[in-house]
């Protein structure tokens, strides 16, 4: 853990304390078993808002603390540790980034304050296929009068059931696959023609398939410039990738620590299994990956906060490494726990299920290796 400011240490400690008390893994289990359709605890989300976590990257003018991405990463790492379900990623990270970076004054006024106090959930309706591909946007937005009409589908929208509004990537010109011709819209969930269907996913979060059937929206719902939305989207996605990577680092770190404890307590052949060299080496390799991932995550978040010129490559690096590491560690968590690791009663399965969803969200290791190579010119 690199050197933190006093403010950051306080934020991290507060997050650590809160999740252990209010949001241990058993809270996720309860949500799952109660079959809550929004996939998170609204009371807990309100508390997160009161503590200021929803407004960490929101400008002070709009009620946020403007502490920056490194600080939000600290909160996400702690909430990741206990698999806390909340709209931090969809709303406090992604939507707050889009709006802060690209929205007009009226949109900021209308939404950023609500985000900062956890008074609204805004979900990213970006991808349209089974794999992350923002440039492949096809959902059609056509001009009608002063406004636009949206028609198309957005599957697997994170926090889609709880969303008060969606940030929708739509095709306003050009062809799917082209970066030019994409426009971002801020569409209220109540807009006529918008419907959502709940998805039951492995991680028990409130994802939804969202359908737009001739949804008429005003010109004031366009975020930034029409046809020029990809740059803004990519910038906001990078912030989301780095922040999500911090959450995944937390997930992987906790999964590793639980596993390490088990290696130190489970006795077979008359000794604790952690004395076996094959398991020691695998544990040491996981530790190596976790340390390398931490370096990437911190570098990406710092680059965002200092407006570095290598933000894109570092965010792809962080998301790819975090994806590889949480994949490895969550699998090893199941394997090293043996029989108990296969059971629903143990948390290992919950870590593995959440890991796979986090890996896929905003691009997995393979997507980001390709992007990294392209950015580097090969």
């Amino acid at each position: 853990m690199a050197v933190l400011t006093e403010e950051q240490v306080m934020l991290k400690d507060a997050a650590k304390g809160w999740v252990s008390e209010r949001s241990p893994v058993s809270a996720l289990r309860k949500l799952r078993d109660a079959d809550v359709d929004v996939g998170f605890d609204r009371a807990a989300w309100a508390e997160m808002g009161q503590m200021g976590w929803a407004g960490v990257v929101v400008p002070e003018t709009y009620g946020g603390s403007e502490f920056g991405y490194r600080s939000l990463g600290l909160v996400l790492e702690e909430t990741g540790r206990t698999l806390t379900n909340s709209p931090l990623v969809s709303t406090a990270l992604f939507a707050a980034s889009v709006l802060t970076l690209g929205a007009g004054a009226a949109q900021k006024e209308a939404w950023l304050g609500r985000i900062a106090e956890a008074g609204a959930v805004i979900a990213p309706a970006i991808d349209e296929h089974a794999h992350h591909a923002p440039a492949a946007t096809a959902l059609a937005a056509t001009r009608s009068g002063d406004g636009w009409t949206l028609t198309g589908k957005k599957p697997f929208v994170l926090d889609g059931m709880a969303a008060d509004a969606f940030i929708v990537a739509a095709r306003t010109s050009g062809k799917p696959g082209e970066e030019a011709g994409i426009t971002l819209f801020l569409v209220p969930a109540s807009a006529p023609g918008l419907s959502r269907t709940r998805l039951k996913t492995v991680d028990s979060r409130g994802a939804a398939d969202v359908s737009f059937e001739g949804v008429a929206v005003g010109a004031d719902t366009v975020i930034g410039q029409a046809d020029q939305g990809f740059g803004l989207l990519d910038q906001a996605l990078d912030r989301a990738r780095a922040g999500l990577a911090a959450e995944m680092l937390g997930q992987a770190s906790q999964a590793f620590e639980i596993t390490l404890d088990y290696l130190k307590t489970r006795v077979q052949f008359g000794q604790v299994i952690g004395t076996f060299q094959s398991l020691q080496h695998r544990a040491a390799k996981m530790f190596t990956e976790l340390e390398m991932t931490r370096s990437c995550v911190e570098a990406a978040l710092d680059a965002i906060d200092s407006n570095g010129n290598d933000v894109r490559a570092l965010c792809s690096l962080a998301k790819a490494k975090a994806s590889e590491t949480v994949h490895l560690v969550s699998n090893e968590m199941v394997q090293m726990h043996g029989g108990i690791g296969m059971t629903d009663a143990h948390d290992a399965g919950l870590y593995m299920k959440r890991a796979r969803v986090s890996e896929a969200l905003f691009g997995g290791a393979s997507f980001h290796r390709d992007r990294y190579a392209t950015l580097m010119g090969y």
């Binding site: 050197v3 290696l263 080496h281 340390e291 390398m292």
Partner: protein
């Protein structure tokens, strides 16, 4: 040594840049051949006299050992100033003025464990590149289990008498002095080891080069037959050498790692792949190779960020960061992966041994690939490194 304020640091940068630009001999801009590596020592050969001039100029400022105290010939720089110096050297693409086990390994432990007289005697010649040191650690029966070493050292009243054999002594045939682990008590294992310095020209010392699969001979077997060593050349206490030995290994692994086993030299992997595999739509034409190159390059970037983070954290905590422990293991993997990918990208051009029909860079890459197999063995095998992480960092216990 306190942190310098930003403005002072800016001034230091300006002065440093001006001095370097004035004093770095431009004839050294040409690529450095392996034979030109500036190891110094009594038998140093300088194919380009400017390389010696560069060493002398840097040594006069103490900048071959930038952070060592000026009292022992060092530069007396703070960590920040040293970082600026290193950045400016990189900016100039300067060759190293001196490469030296004395600088990287022995000097730091002498600063910590040696007597004042020993520091005065041994450190300044290291800074000036006058004495080239080699490392007498491994033995035929003591590799990963280093503390099992058997080279005997007996107290003969007015001197020590050393008998035994070392192996994997890097460049022992070219070194002037050796820092050597010897057994001074056969009744104990770790507590029976001492840390001894002696001249390689002492009668009874005989190094023999070992030829590796790469064709090169960076290592030797070194034999000691009734070697007489003055008693004031013992560092630390008698039978107290194991702590010094371990500390030196930390410096060795740190240094190996910071240099990434020298893997950064030569053409970039992606450029080689583009040249030998082809390009399609601006990308390396073989998508599988391209993905594996990207994976490796990202690992290398993560590694570099980890080295930087470990430095920053060690400094803030005034002790090694947990990240330090994984660096040697990761560096070995990184360089081996890179070497394998390089030879794969070169195709049959990567399979030449010597002579006509092969590009000199390709031949170098092939030899480097073979040499890289040692990276996970030398300086502690990767398996031993993982043991160390498991036990010391993760707190896992020994098998009973």
């Amino acid at each position: 040594m306190t942190d310098s304020a930003p403005t002072e640091l800016d001034a230091f940068r300006a002065e440093t840049r001006a001095w370097l630009e004035q004093n770095y001999p431009r004839s050294l801009d040409a690529p450095m051949a392996e034979d030109d590596a500036p190891w110094g020592g009594r038998r140093a050969k300088w194919s380009n006299p400017d390389a010696k001039l560069w060493l002398d100029r840097m040594a006069a400022k103490g900048w071959t050992a930038p952070t060592w105290p000026t009292a022992y010939g060092g530069g007396g720089l703070s960590a920040e100033q040293n970082r600026v110096l290193q950045q400016e050297l990189i900016r100039l693409k300067a060759r190293p003025a001196l490469m030296s086990f004395g600088l990287w390994m022995l000097g730091p432990v002498l600063l910590e464990y040696a007597t004042e007289e020993q520091k005065q005697k041994f450190l300044p010649p290291i800074v000036r590149g006058e004495i080239r040191w080699c490392q007498g650690y491994s033995e035929p029966g003591a590799g990963s289990d280093l503390a099992g070493l058997q080279t005997r050292c007996e107290d003969q009243g007015d001197h020590y008498l050393v008998n035994g054999q070392k192996v994997w002594t890097s460049y022992a045939d070219q070194a002037d002095w050796i820092f050597c682990l010897v057994r001074t008590d056969t009744s104990k294992k770790h507590e029976g080891i001492s840390f001894l310095l002696f001249d390689m020209t002492t009668p009874g010392v005989e190094p023999r080069p070992i030829k590796l699969i790469s064709g090169s001979s960076p290592f030797c077997e070194t034999f000691f037959d009734n070697v007489k060593v003055p008693k004031d050349q013992l560092v630390g206490r008698l039978n107290g050498g194991w702590d010094i030995a371990k500390r030196l290994l930390q410096y060795e692994r740190q240094n190996i790692s910071a240099s990434g086993f020298g893997g950064g030299a030569g053409p970039e992997l992606e450029d080689v792949a583009k040249a030998f595999v082809g390009v399609s739509g601006g990308k390396i034409a073989d998508p599988d190779l391209r993905a594996r190159i990207a994976e490796h390059r990202m690992y290398a970037k993560a590694f570099a960020l980890t080295v930087r983070r470990a430095e920053a954290e060690s400094k803030a905590a005034k002790g090694p960061s947990a990240a330090t422990s994984i660096i040697k293991y990761a560096a070995a993997k990184m360089n081996q992966d890179r070497s394998e990918l390089m030879v794969e990208a070169l195709g049959t051009q990567g399979l030449g041994w010597e002579g006509e029909g092969f590009d000199p860079d390709a031949l170098k890459a092939t030899r480097a690939w073979l040499r890289s197999k040692g990276n996970s063995i030398e300086g502690g095998t990767s398996e031993v490194n993982l043991n160390v992480v498991a036990k010391r960092v993760l707190g896992l216990l020994d098998h009973q």
